[in-house]
Symmetry: C2
Subunit: 200 residues, 2 copies
């Protein structure tokens, strides 16, 4: 193997191959690309990797990643702090923020209940959610977990926990994706779209 | 955007997005993955990036990447140093070594002649190839550049340079890929396969 010509290249290829969605071929291509970078570019890359570890942590309120004590969303007085949208991961917040429609705040669970993967409710940031709600002033919890078995199970589990507290719990609507075509919709999506049909 | 919650995460996402074949979505996924690494894993990753720059350079003989003065292939006495396989990039050596068939040595051009991209023969490691040949003892040069316009042009350019030196210059065979199907072969490949047909 040509990689064995240069151990540092092999090591870097292995590092890239550990990342999700990157196979050995892509990893090799990326390692060769880093090889062609200037010294300062390579240093900027390495520094970015280290810095993200040094200075990013979880927001003490919503558990999203942030480099401050309270993240900008939780610290924004113009947002409606009585509505909390519960998501699986920080990526989901990015997706929802992109709609520019949601004005409430968030809570990141950092996972979904999944007995098969050994993830129990205790592994999620549910205690932190209950603590936020117990402070009062919360009118609605929007469960925005994915429409999967784990996402549904987690939404139902949390809604059962919250019902006794008198908090309104809602779930994102499921149906046909906008711009999609009926003939390409899977039967479960189509069933949900029928079931949740609205008068026009 | 949720990324704006944590500047270091934005910076790392941007670094990943600069790599070839990685878009903004993948870059974000990778940055979140690095975030979830342990400190020591992140350090190992960053170190690998830096080390590849510090200790890998070009083999003074074949121009392949190596962390020694002479790469293991050039330094291997059991290989046939009279046959030199000329390739575009170090990746190609990996591919050819994988066949376990080739026992000669290599020469990496680090590019192909491409006037459109502003790459002239002077930008390639052609001088170094001529220097190797001028030392004598070379019986054959195998042009293993890609079967593209640039690959063909480079192969022809170099073969014209070498003809006066009395060196035999060959080119990889083109035809149907093994395991492929006639109906899916493009017309140029099929034309080459017909043209280069062999008696059985």
């Amino acid at each position: 193997m040509a990689e064995s010509n240069a151990l540092p290249l092999v090591l870097l290829t292995e590092q890239f191959a550990k990342l999700p969605g990157i196979g050995m071929k892509s990893a090799q291509r990326l390692a060769y690309h880093v090889m062609k970078m200037s010294d300062s570019e390579a240093k900027a890359f390495a520094d970015a990797v280290i810095n993200v570890h040094k200075s990013v942590h979880l927001c003490s309120c919503c558990q999203n990643y942030t480099d401050r004590h309270i993240c900008p969303i939780c610290g924004d007085d113009r947002r409606d702090h009585s509505v909390i949208c519960v998501v699986e991961s920080p990526k989901d917040i990015t997706a929802i923020e992109r709609t520019n429609e949601y004005k409430g705040v968030y809570h990141v669970l950092h996972g979904l209940i999944s007995p098969i993967d050994g993830v129990s409710p205790d592994d999620l940031k549910i205690k932190e959610l209950l603590a936020r709600i117990s402070k009062g002033d919360v009118s609605e919890i929007i469960m925005a977990t994915n429409p999967t078995v784990e996402g549904d199970a987690t939404a139902i589990y949390i809604s059962k926990l919250l019902k006794p507290l008198g908090v309104k719990v809602t779930r994102l609507a499921f149906g046909l994706p906008i711009g999609g075509q009926l003939e390409y919709a899977d039967e479960i999506t189509l069933y949900k779209a029928l079931e949740n049909r609205n008068e026009i």
